[in-house]
């Protein structure tokens, strides 16, 4: 899967989990830029991402992302 496809998938997941209408994630997006993205919904996002890509994160990984770019990077390495 290419990075661009991961972003497309993430946009759908984020809209669904965070209950927002429009979102355009970039590699520099952080939790502060996105409405409703708090620590509770972060866990829900992690669960949804794991299910969608059929991968699994450790606690350390889940709290290590500084932005969406790092998240995509890790998903990409796990998939390939």
């Amino acid at each position: 899967m290419k990075q661009i496809e991961i972003y497309e998938n993430l946009n759908i997941i984020f809209k669904d989990i965070l209950d927002i209408n429009e979102i355009n994630l970039t590699n520099e997006t952080t939790a502060e830029d996105v409405e409703n993205w708090d620590s509770l919904s972060h866990i829900n996002l992690i669960v949804a991402i794991e299910k969608n890509f059929n991968i699994s994160f450790t606690t350390r990984e889940a709290k290590s992302f500084n932005n969406v770019g790092e998240m995509v990077e890790l998903i990409f390495t796990k998939l390939n």
Partner: protein
């Protein structure tokens, strides 16, 4: 030695002047010596315990960092954190053992042990530092004195705030550390004055009012209710006072501590309240207990979330002590939080649809939240569950014996009421002396600021000798 004692305040001046004047490579050592001397005024025996814990906290992160495999890292992490938690439990909950054994039918005589002052604060700091190194948030600190000072830094050792290692160490490394910077000293003195004002003028004058209202509350339900309201403000002013003194002291020596309160009485629901009350403890628990536990139980959905909230709030409860009332306090807060979080989506939808009702919704939210907090604090305050239930009953019986009001003397209720109102306003609207982080927008309270501080300054001078023990120094 207490922060509000005259001798302590006088000693600050030479300690600060020597710090500003000395070569920068000795500053950490100087503050460490002062911190140990300060701790020794409480107990020399427990200073040895603090030293032992400091050594563990210095070595464990180095072992974790240099371990050759993940398995070894995990072993070092588990062993060190387990050891620290064991020390905490032994000292804080030792007396439970006697009660447990007695319930089984035996009687043993255990020696009375005093809880080392500040132990729950410096042990939490130690654990977070070790876990941070395991999580690779920071690299371990090579200089042992910095680690020792992190745990023993005297402005924070009695009652926090619980600062995190990355924050503390980066400030020690800053070129501005321990240097005379006038604007910073001005802010530091502002915090010291605010803290003294909150403790000596507000909290200590609400206290007698609470006691008198409690007496009258037996015959008069309104008085019983007011006693509970006033106690909430007393607890806030007492602990916020202590925190502000700690922040001010830290700033004098070049360390900015994290805040503990950000307008808790202005919270519109219980979830927001707990993000604004004793924040350095709640954010610690969120980071090192709640989130890791949630990650482990993330497959369980709602049930997992509820369980994590329950564990988290029960721990906040028993962190204050081993009595059943603290368990009940945690339990009530857990239930309230679960209800709040379970209804978030519905509430958001409703207020999105009827956005004109937002203002009314928020007002109802603030009033409801304050009353729920007061309700939960009844268990926090009373020494047994039955006493707490009696106190709640007293409110609900709607007794109206007006003679009870007459027993309230003028010299108790006038200062008490004034202090309660100012304390409430500080808790609902005051945002701090300068920006701390993104959650504090800015302070628009310049009028009340000037008013309360000028009155504060005078009263602090007049009343400084009557300081009593801080409530939170017990925990």
């Amino acid at each position: 030695m207490l922060y509000t004692e005259g001798i302590f305040l006088w000693l600050l001046i030479p300690v600060a002047i020597i710090l500003y004047g000395m070569p920068s490579n000795l500053k950490v050592l100087w503050l460490l010596i002062v911190s140990y001397l300060f701790y020794a005024t409480w107990s020399t025996g427990y200073l040895v315990l603090l030293l032992a814990i400091s050594i563990v906290t210095y070595i464990a992160p180095l072992l974790i960092f240099r371990a050759s495999s993940e398995t070894y890292k995990k072993i070092f992490l588990s062993l060190s954190v387990f050891l620290l938690l064991l020390i905490l439990c032994v000292f804080k909950y030792f007396n439970l053992l006697e009660i447990l054994v007695e319930n089984i039918g035996f009687k043993i005589e255990l020696p009375e042990i005093l809880v080392p002052i500040g132990i729950s604060y410096f042990l939490f700091k130690a654990i977070s530092y070790i876990v941070d190194v395991y999580w690779e948030t920071i690299e371990p600190e090579i200089n042992p004195f910095r680690v020792f000072l992190f745990l023993s830094f005297f402005p924070q050792i009695l009652s926090g705030p619980i600062q995190r290692a990355p924050d503390f160490f980066s400030q020690l490394r800053s070129i501005n550390f321990g240097i005379l910077i006038w604007p910073q000293i001005e802010i530091a003195l502002g915090y010291l004055l605010l803290g003294m004002f909150e403790k000596l003028v507000l909290a200590d004058h609400i206290d007698p009012l609470v006691q008198e209202l409690d007496k009258g509350g037996i015959d008069n339900s309104l008085m019983a209710l007011f006693a509970n309201y006033a106690y909430a403000v007393q607890l806030f002013t007492d602990f916020a006072g202590l925190t502000h003194i700690a922040i001010g002291l830290g700033l004098l020596f070049g360390i900015t501590a994290p805040p503990n309160f950000a307008r808790p009485f202005g919270a519109t629901n219980m979830q927001i309240f707990w993000m604004r009350w004793h924040m350095s403890l709640t954010s610690w628990l969120k980071e090192y207990l709640f989130m890791p536990l949630m990650m482990k139980l993330r497959g369980l959905g709602m049930i997992g979330l509820w369980f994590c909230i329950l564990v988290n709030m029960l721990l906040i409860g028993v962190w204050h002590g081993s009595s059943l009332t603290f368990v009940m306090f945690g339990l009530i807060n857990a239930v309230l939080l679960i209800i709040t979080i379970a209804t978030t989506k519905i509430r958001n939808k409703f207020f999105k649809k009827f956005n004109k009702l937002n203002a009314i919704g928020n007002s109802i939210g603030v009033i409801l939240t304050f009353n729920l907090v007061v309700f939960a604090l009844t268990f926090f305050r009373k020494s047994s569950i039955s006493e707490a239930l009696d106190s709640i009953n007293a409110v609900l019986l709607f007794n109206i014996n007006n003679n009870a009001w007459k027993a309230l003397t003028y010299d108790v209720w006038v200062p008490g009421l004034m202090a309660s109102l100012i304390g409430f306003e500080l808790g609902a609207g005051f945002l701090g002396l300068y920006k701390f982080g993104p959650w504090i927008t800015n302070s628009s309270r310049s009028f009340s600021f000037i008013l309360t501080y000028s009155i504060g300054a005078i009263l602090v001078i007049l009343l400084a000798s009557n300081g009593t023990q801080f409530i939170y120094a017990r925990f």
